[in-house]
Amino acid sequence: MNKLAALPATLVAGGFLFYSTAFFPSWGDPDQPAGRHVSPRYIEKTLAETGVPNAVTSVLADYRGYDTMFETSVIFTAGIAVMMLLRGSR
């Protein structure tokens, strides 16, 4: 898209985004939905269930370990993609 179409599209998207930020829970307040629903269990039970004090690592490798497996597969895909695209194409 050239410059002419990009500026109005950006302004429209910007209007939507600014409009929506007004209705977010205020930044950092402890009982916003994200802090109440799923994550308290990770913090309170990480030592008891996995023996790992670092809650981020316990969520990363155990509770949502499946995501991280695909994350490693993403970086593996990028590696062989670059290998395939560039090597031997001299």
């Binding site: 209705f23 994200a34 629903h37 509770y63 499946y66 993609a81 395939m84 090597r87």
Partner: protein, 498 residues
């Protein structure tokens, strides 16, 4: 062991892509058989898990890592994605077998191991997107499928890297707006699991943040689905991609995007919300109508066979959008069934075009003269695929369009029904132009004499003929057994409350 089927669908191709790459470094011949074996195993697993859903009547839930849903990631196989999984497995297996000679011809031998590894990673991404019950996990698998698609398209010669880069810009824009939509859902609810989201979202349906979040979610899915206004990346990238890649990408990637749209609109958000309270589906229907008309006309204007099929994919996405737009039982039956049929139809057509391009050495429609004499099976495949896309009764395209039109009429959306009929008419004009060129070209036409005297299309390998013939038989069987499929599988696949 069958309880693990739903996760094995994704883990087996992932593991085999690593092994294909590792052993391919030492022994290049191992790549193709390992890929076919892995995809055959996936077919067994997806058919097995779909059969358990059919026999027990209840969806299969699988907790990854042993953690319960809102905390851990959950796999859900129900009627809807059981169907799509089995279709993906069949089409990708046939595409892999078919693509063998094309890969040997188009891809330099040193690049076979990474090529087949990316082929399997692409299929892993598609399987994972279909079977997952977690919104963020769907994003990660969307990225795996997209990265392997960018790299595979970038393999073509000439302008393919440039088309792949433009596709990457569009694709990343889409994937990031999907991620933004998931972020808006997370900030409003605190959960990422689809079933959990459905309960929590009900009281806060009309919060403004959620509206904008839904808009970004649908924008991201529309880009991946090549829905009308954001389909600009598709014609260049699938046309310039090597034909062994477009045989895999064209039928599957956009259809999984359509599946994700149906999943988000009718399972994450309650159907009563997305149909009546906020007319999201009607808006999608109207955009789909514009999409059908625009892309059918663009398909007519194309000389290049493959680019014409790419615009047909956008039209098929429009048909599915019209089915969602109708927002009632027959409309949704039609869009799910059309999603299924389209995988097979487009697979068949892209196989035929790939064979024509490789053996008949022509890409333009005008160059197809006398195709039936030198390549009878491919011409027959082109006819079966074309008639099915138009919607001629015994074939599967007719039945899904029948339900779509039924749904549009029942929803009193006359423009939807009109667009469907006009689209079918334009497809008919499109394909009969090709059939006429293939079969009925008068002998005195100079191009025909040149073709006759000129190069004889070399023998097609059996490895290409059998998958194409099988796909054509499947298209016919889908048509004949459409009543059975709709009654037993799709009737239950429609989320409650539609």
């Amino acid at each position: 062991m069958t309880v693990h089927f739903s996760v094995l669908i994704v883990v087996v191709p992932l593991l085999s892509s690593f092994l294909v790459f590792a052993f391919g470094l030492f022994q290049r011949r191992v790549c193709f058989p390992a890929t076919v074996a892995a995809l055959a195993a996936c077919l067994v697993f997806s058919a097995g898990s779909f059969r358990t859903v059919l026999t027990t009547g209840r969806p299969v839930h699988y907790h990854l890592g042993g953690w319960a849903p809102p905390w851990g990631i959950e796999y859900v196989v129900d009627y809807l994605n059981g169907l799509v999984l089995t279709a993906i497995a069949i089409v990708s297996l046939l595409a892999a077998i078919y693509a063998r000679t094309l890969v040997a011809r188009e891809i330099p031998a040193a690049k076979h191991p990474p090529f087949y590894a990316l082929f399997l990673l692409q299929v892993t991404g598609l399987f994972g997107m279909t079977v997952t019950g977690d919104m963020f996990n769907l994003y990660v698998l969307l990225e795996i499928a997209s990265f392997s698609a960018y790299a595979l398209i970038g393999m073509g010669e000439g302008a393919a890297p440039f088309a792949a880069f433009r596709y990457m810009i569009f694709g990343t824009l889409g994937a990031c707006s999907y991620l933004l939509g998931v972020g808006y859902l997370y900030i409003s609810t605190g959960s990422l699991n689809m079933a959990d989201l459905r309960q929590i979202l009900v009281p806060i349906y009309f919060s403004q943040a959620l509206m904008v979040g839904l808009a970004f979610l649908l924008l991201g899915i529309a880009v991946k689905m090549a829905f009308f206004p954001v389909h600009l990346w598709l014609p260049d990238s699938y046309t310039l991609a090597p034909s062994c890649v477009s045989v895999l990408l064209a039928p599957l990637f956009t259809k999984v995007g359509a599946y994700v749209m149906i999943r988000v609109l009718f399972t994450v958000f309650d159907p009563s919300f997305s149909i009546t309270l906020l007319p999201v589906t009607t808006v999608i229907g109207w955009v789909a109508v514009a999409g059908i008309l625009f892309s059918s006309i663009m398909a007519l204007a194309q000389g290049d066979l493959k680019r014409m099929l790419c615009y047909l994919i956008v039209t098929e996405g429009g048909y599915i959008g019209v089915g969602i737009g109708a927002g009632n039982r027959p409309g949704l039956t039609g869009s799910i069934f059309h999603l299924l049929n389209d995988m097979f139809m487009m697979g068949l057509l892209f196989m035929a075009v790939g064979a024509i391009q490789a053996h008949f050495r022509t890409r333009t429609i005008s160059g197809l003269t006398g195709l039936h004499r030198s390549m009878p099976v491919t011409a027959a495949a082109l006819v079966v695929g074309g008639l099915s896309v138009i919607g001629v009764p015994p074939l599967c395209g007719f039945f899904s369009k029948w339900y779509l039109i039924l749904g549009a009429i029942e929803a009193r959306q006359w423009f939807f029904a009109g667009a469907l009929l006009l689209g079918s008419l334009l497809n008919a004009v499109l394909f009969f132009r090709i059939f006429e060129r293939c079969y009925f070209e008068a002998p005195h036409d100079p191009a025909h004499r040149k073709r006759e005297a000129g190069v004889k299309a070399d023998r097609m390998a059996m490895g290409e003929l059998i998958p194409m013939a099988l796909m054509a038989v499947l298209v016919i069987l889908l048509g004949l057994f459409s009543g059975y499929i709709v009654q037993h599988a799709i009737a239950h696949a429609i989320p409650p409350g539609v």
